[in-house]
Symmetry: C2
Subunit: 240 residues, 2 copies
């Protein structure tokens, strides 16, 4: 069977865990941990794609080396967009949005983590879809023609969107189960000991204090305004 | 207050999520998300440390750019060792083990994720300690003088060790709570929407099928033999 190409598109100011989480899970499809029967899944190849091969810095200063560029990456079976404050500049970059549209239109799976959803949206890939994003930004989804569904991972057809940052890990297991079945997903889960035990239960607004939510919204006020403006500047997917 | 320097030591063949998870959490201490009162915590600076500044490839092919080297990194307040198959080669490298010993002996916190515990151990930092590591390797902990405690995150004095790969995220929140208090930890948890919802409950041997455990142990047979051999080759921390 031919390769299944998984591509993460990165850009300056992305939140690295948005894609390093799913990268860790999806890259393990490359040698399927089949149980009694061989995995029905072909070899997966993961690609980290950027405008150039120069290292790309995350919003918190981690440098990641792309493995290919918009020009030389293979056709993608799955495209994944991480989020981060850098989404604002990426939204203003026609080359990035054109690449997302080109690959997104032919990919088997179109996916995002956190505010990466707005990059899919700017490329016209969320029109008429149910979708999600980081909880503090869900009200902006209609600006790209999407309808918010309250869930950590939302599937609408071949489009998988997920919530803030760490939701990318849960999203990746949903993808693995879809591609290779539950047993393969469980084997990878055991391999990376994904048995989460957060010391606090405060990771969602439904569970957080009002003070913490207000602080987060206040700290994100500028980021939200910047994102709104960037989406207005690119109101139609063909405006670039 | 002076900076609090957090250093992740990376090496070829490390498992990237072992440190990108805690990096995402701990790097957010840099601008403490204080609530009503200012955070008692100083600015944290995160460093990604390697032998040279050349990109370091993970076991699954993700290239990470170090931010400093063993020679030019500042004294560390917290040192963190990720795991991965590359631990075997790192164990044979005196320069790496000497760096871990030097910084580990003066750091306020000595930490590891997954089989990174054996790098701390080879540097003599786990002698007489309760500790943990990836579930498939816990029987090897006595070889570095440690006693296995069954928990996702184990604290013994200033030494925090954690289980396989994804445990690093839970570990990081335990560290944040220790350094800056529960309210800061909860604010970061909300910011990265850490409200895990794995689609399966199979991330620990207690919850996995016998077939999945047997497969994992069989797939890790060579890795376990290599790790045992590397630990035997370096049986005393001053053997290098």
């Amino acid at each position: 069977m031919s390769d299944f190409n998984v591509g993460f598109v990165i850009f300056p100011g992305m939140t690295q865990l948005d894609f390093t989480g799913p990268f860790e899970v999806l890259s393990r499809l490359g040698t399927p941990p089949s149980l009694s029967a061989p995995s029905p899944f072909p070899d997966a190849k993961t690609h980290v794609i950027a405008k150039t091969r120069l290292p790309v810095m995350s919003d918190r200063g981690l440098g990641i080396l792309p493995s290919c560029t918009f020009q030389d990456c293979p056709p993608l079976n799955l495209i994944c967009l991480p989020g981060g404050a850098g989404v604002v500049d990426a939204l203003a970059d026609d080359e990035t949005i054109d690449f997302i549209r080109r690959e997104g239109e032919r990919a088997d799976y179109v996916t995002s983590v956190c505010v990466g959803a707005f990059l899919l949206g700017a490329a016209g890939l969320l029109r008429g879809r149910r979708a999600t994003t980081h909880w503090a930004y869900v009200d902006l989804l209609p600006r790209v023609g999407a309808r918010h569904e309250k869930a950590r991972v939302v599937r609408d057809g071949n489009v998988f969107t997920s919530g803030g940052v760490t939701s990318g890990i849960d999203f990746a297991f949903a993808i693995v189960a879809e591609l290779a079945g539950a047993e393969v997903a469980k084997a990878i889960q055991l391999a990376i000991e994904y048995d989460p035990a957060p010391p606090f239960d405060a990771g969602h607004p439904d569970k957080a204090s009002e003070a913490a939510i207000a602080l987060m919204m206040s700290r994100n006020e500028t980021a939200r305004a910047n994102l709104r403006q960037a989406l207005d500047n690119r109101s139609a997917p063909t405006s670039g």
